[in-house]
Symmetry: C2
Amino acid sequence: MQDFANPRLKVEPLDLGIGLRRQACEAIKRAITEMDIYGRPEEIRLDERQLSHDLGVSRTPIREAVSILEQEGFVRSIPRRGLVVVRKTKREIVEMITVWAAIESMAARLAALRVTPNDINELHDLGEAFQDDPDRHIHDYSHANMAFHKAIIRLGGVELMVSLTDTLFIHMRAVRAVTMTQDNRARRSVVDHRAIIAALAAHDAGLAERLVREHTMGLAAHVEEHGDFLDVAAGDHRRRPG
Amino acid sequence: MQDFANPRLKVEPLDLGIGLRRQACEAIKRAITEMDIYGRPEEIRLDERQLSHDLGVSRTPIREAVSILEQEGFVRSIPRRGLVVVRKTKREIVEMITVWAAIESMAARLAALRVTPNDINELHDLGEAFQDDPDRHIHDYSHANMAFHKAIIRLGGVELMVSLTDTLFIHMRAVRAVTMTQDNRARRSVVDHRAIIAALAAHDAGLAERLVREHTMGLAAHVEEHGDFLDVAAGDHRRRPG
DNA sequence: CTGTGGCATAATGTATACCAGCGTCAGGAG
DNA sequence: CTCCTGACGCTGGTATACATTATGCCACAG
C-alpha cells in the first residue's frame, strides 16, 4: 500500500552484484575495442588467468564473460589452444555494413512516418556539427557520424534494431577512421546526411530509405574497394607450417 | 606418418570437449523451442542443478551455455532468483518481424542481381510445394514457408544475414502456426511468393525488395492486429501483489 | 487476529582445485 | 647434422566446495 501513498524514501534499487560477469564482459570488450586490432599483424591472444588476475576476479566469471564475447563475435575460443581476438575479414566487414544498411534503411522508412520537428533539429545538429571542416577532427567527426546513424535507427522506434546495430557499430570502430580519411568520404557524408534529413523532414519514406541505403552501401562498396588492408594477415595463423 | 600409410585404426575423431558447452546450449535451446511456451500462462523456470543432472554434466558448462542462451534472448537470468524462459511480447515479435523484413528485403535486392535459373527453380519448388492445398498441412507448409524465406536470404550471399535471421526464425517458431491459420494467410502467401519469384527471375532488384518488404511487413501488421494472445500473461510475475 | 521480524533452507554466484590435450624443447639415435 | 620421440609445461575444460542472498515460514508482540 505504500506504493504511492508514502513516497518518503527514494533509494535506488542498489544493483547488488548485478553481474560480476557483466563488468568483466564490458571491461574486456572495452579493452578489445580500444586496442588497435588491425595495427599489429600478429594474432592477439587472451589468457584467462591473466585476465582473472588483472580484473581481480576468479576464472569463472571470466569464462562466462568470454562466452558472451565469443557469441558476439569479439573473440574466438579454440579448444585447448586458447582465446584469440577475432580480426574481421574484409568480407565480414562488408557484410556487417550491408546488414547495417538493411536495418538503417528500414529504420529510416519507419522514422519518416514518425519524426517530429524536434527530431529533425537534433539530426540537423548532429549532421552539421562538423560541417565547417570535417577533415580537421576526424576522430570526433567519426563519432558524430556514428551518432547520426544511430539516431536515425533510434527514430525508427524499433528497439531490436538499436541493440543489433550497437554490436555492429562496435565491430566497425576499427574501420571508421580509415574509411573516413580516404576518398574525401567525410565531406561527402555531410552532403548525404543533409539529403537524408530533408527526406525525413518531408516524411518521404521511400526516399529516406533509398538515400540511407545508397549512402551506407556506398560505404560498403568503398570498403570492398579499398579495404584490402583488413586481410593483410588475417589468416596467417591457421596452421604452423613448421 | 601414419596418416594414410597405415589405415589400420579408423577411430572417429571423437569430438572430446569440442564443446560440452555447445552441446548443452543446443540441447537446452531445442528443449525450449520444442516446448509450447505460450501454451501455459505461468512463468517457466529453469533449474541449473536439474539441467546439470539431466544432461550429465556439471553446472559450469550449463552456466556457460545459459550465458549464450541469455545473450540470444531465449532465457533471462534474474540475479539470485533463477532462470526463466523469456516469453516474447507482441511488440518484441513485431520488432523481430520488422528486422526480418529489413534483412530479407535487402537480401532480395542483392539476390535479384545474382540469381541463376537454377536458384529460381529451387525457389519455385519451395513456393509451390503446398500450392494445391496449403490449409491441409499447416505445419509442413509453415516449414516450407520458412524455408522459402531462408532461401531468399541465402541467395543474397551475405552469411551474416543467414546467421542473424536463423535466431530470429527460431524465436518466431511459436508464432508461425497461429499466424498461418488466421486470415487465410497461407493462401495469400503463395500468391506473394509467386510475385517475389517473378521479380527475382526478372532481376528487378527494386521490385523484389519492395515485394519482400511488403509481404513480411504485412505479417508484422497482422501480428500487431491479432497477436494479443502473446501478451496474455507476459507480465504477471513482476511483483507478488500479496 | 494481524503484522513484523528473525531464522532456516535452498539456490545462485564465485572461487579453487584437478584433469586432459597440445605445443615445445631437448636428448638420443641414425 | 638431422629427425624422431618422449617428457614437461602451459592452456583451457570441468567439477566441487563455499559464501551470499532471497524466500518462505513461524513465532512473538501489539
